[in-house]
């Protein structure tokens, strides 16, 4: 299947900057995929998302979204995507319905009318469905100011979906939300993905949000330093090891040495698996163990290891 997002050799250097904010990145996203772009602050995540959503011009490179060339057919791209910005994008002085109405008119779904009751029936139906989903049937005509942070985010997502975008971009959408709101937002997004097969392009600081991704891309100093499924990213870069402990530390230490099993005391005994199965390793140990833990790396572990590794590389490189 043709990728819905196609990025090749994308470079962005800001005016008066010495280095590239985005430094020759390439990637594809397949239709319906859940793609996550990770990276520390200043890695180039927001720059990348700004370019892909047409608010920033690339310095060089080629980008195609839903078959539209980003530079030649920016409006084609704009029609095919929905965006949840880092900063809230609801107008605080307007009601929920007015915010939705303006969006619908800007995307050419309905003609503009200055009052709700003048809008076409189809629109009213869509709004009441939407209010139903949010559970705000009574508040839909109240100013946004009165809504909670989580509710506003949800409204933004629903609004961004009413023009049926092929790709939904989310730039750190859950920053500043409490855990409950975050969970309910993700439940909703998961449902949307299942029902509408919308491609999701997410940047986030919360690494647990990346666990469900189809593809993770880690951006560091404007370059992609790791990419793959969450399992691939973990497998490549994070060591698998066993942590054991015994009441009799000396006995365990001697036994491990005698059997030539390399270990590190951390103070638990950390044993590298090096491709061996934990079961096989444990069978070799006779000393009664009080603790056995298998390290299963999270995306967060992998992420931190990858960023660390590249920072080390950079400092060695600059030392020469």
């Amino acid at each position: 299947m043709n990728p819905i997002i196609h990025v090749s050799n994308l470079v962005k250097r800001y005016k008066s900057a010495q280095v590239n904010a985005v430094d020759g990145i390439s990637f594809h996203v397949a239709p319906g995929e859940f793609f996550v772009l990770l990276g520390p602050n200043g890695a180039g995540k927001t720059t990348t998302i700004s370019i892909l959503t047409t608010t920033l011009s690339p310095t060089s490179g080629h980008v195609e979204i839903a078959g539209h060339d980003l530079v030649r057919d920016a409006n084609g791209v704009r029609e095919s995507v929905g965006i949840i910005f880092q900063q809230p994008s609801l107008d605080q002085n307007l009601t929920a319905e007015e915010n939705v109405r303006l969006h619908a008119v800007l995307y050419g779904l309905y003609p503009f009318r200055p009052a709700y009751w003048l809008m076409p029936r189809g629109y009213k139906q869509q709004v009441s469905e939407l209010a139903e989903i949010l559970g705000i049937a009574n508040e839909i005509h109240k100013p946004i100011k009165t809504f909670s942070g989580g509710m506003k985010r949800k409204l933004e997502i629903i609004r961004s979906l009413i023009h049926h975008p092929r790709v939904l971009f989310l730039d750190e959408p859950t920053t500043g939300l409490d855990p409950l709101s975050r969970r309910s937002l993700w439940d909703y997004l998961t449902r949307v993905r299942a029902e509408k097969e919308t491609t999701i392009f997410l940047t986030t600081h919360y690494l647990e949000e990346a666990e469900q991704a189809d593809t993770i891309s880690i951006l560091h100093h404007g370059k992609i330093v790791a990419q793959g499924t969450p399992d691939e990213v973990k497998a490549h870069l994070v060591e698998n090891y066993l942590l054991v402990d015994a009441a009799d530390h000396d006995a365990l230490r001697q036994e491990l040495r005698a059997r030539r099993i390399p270990f590190v005391e951390t103070p638990l005994f950390k044993i590298e698996l090096n491709g061996n199965s934990p079961h096989k390793l444990l069978k070799q140990i006779d000393t009664p163990l009080t603790t056995v833990k298998i390290n299963t790396p999270s995306v967060e572990d992998a992420y931190l290891a990858i960023i660390q590794e590249h920072d080390d590389d950079n400092s060695t490189a600059s030392a020469h």
Partner: protein, 280 residues
């Protein structure tokens, strides 16, 4: 046997407006309406809208009439009233347009910039919105003008309504041009007093400029506000004996100059602004 695969039905909302043109027209209306709604819901702003002209016309016009009125041969209150009316509307939209820069990163404006509509539609919608916000100020000025003794017949009122609309739209286009030329918000804030204040004098808002020395005459002719003020006076003094003394240029010339520079400001300003925004 052939299998007919049904194309997947897509749910499209009923009666979508056809074509880019209609979409842009609707977008202009929506963007302008948003600005107007925000104005209507801001009581403090509405109040200041009506207080400001009172101070201007009441103190300045009244005082000047007492000082120079007798020797000038025409009513100074009328002169200042028409000047302030055009100047207030023109400047109100010009400065209002700067909010495009201000709230690019804020609330709904982000939405506007990524929506699939023409960039010119965005800017025109914004100018129209600021015009809708400026016009109630014009109404305030006219009301206070009448209270203070400016005599007007219905034809004059109708004429002023039209020139007010023109002055507001023209100010918006001028603001857009400035925005396109300004490298940053800070530069805009620092340079704006130098762009607006001198025009109070070079455009003849308070002081007659019929007989200026050549260098000042050139500066005056380069001041966009001059044409909005002169058109307003031309309509107000139409068929009155003072027309010859007060009004500088024929109506058609003012309209022609404003019409052509409106298009120029609007097109060049939008182009420069959007380019600067994207090529950061």
């Amino acid at each position: 046997m052939t299998t007919i695969t049904q194309p997947q039905a897509r749910i499209e909302p009923a009666r979508a407006p056809r074509g880019r043109m209609m979409r842009n027209v609707n977008a202009v209306a929506a963007i302008a309406y948003r600005d107007f709604l925000k104005f209507l819901r801001d009581r403090a702003r509405i109040l200041s809208t009506f207080l400001f002209p009172l101070i201007f016309i009441g103190f300045l016009g009244g005082g000047m009439q007492a000082t120079f009125g007798a020797s000038s041969g025409y009513n100074f209150l009328d002169f200042i009233f028409t000047g302030v009316l055009a100047q207030t509307l023109w400047q109100s939209t010009a400065i209002g347009i700067i909010s495009l820069l201000e709230d690019r990163q804020n609330d709904f404006s982000q939405e506007i910039f990524v929506s699939p509509i023409s960039r010119y539609a965005i800017v025109f919608g914004k100018i129209l919105g600021e015009t809708l916000v400026a016009l109630p100020q014009g109404l305030g000025i006219v009301l206070f003008g009448i209270i203070l003794g400016v005599a007007m017949n219905p034809a004059q009122l109708l004429g002023l309504a039209l020139t007010s609309l023109i002055a507001s739209l023209y100010g918006g286009a001028f603001g857009m041009m400035l925005l396109g030329l300004m490298p940053s918000r800070r530069a805009a804030d620092q340079l704006f007093p130098f762009v607006f204040l001198p025009q109070f004098f070079t455009a003849g808002v308070f002081v007659p400029i019929a007989n200026l020395p050549l260098p000042l005459e050139i500066v005056s002719r380069l001041s966009p506000l001059r044409y909005a003020v002169d058109l307003t006076r031309g309509v107000f003094y139409w068929n009155m004996p003072q027309f010859q003394v007060v009004v500088l240029d024929p109506l058609w010339l003012n309209v022609a100059i404003m019409g052509s520079t409106f298009l120029l400001f609007m097109l060049v300003g939008t182009f420069l602004f959007m380019r600067a925004e994207q090529n950061r």
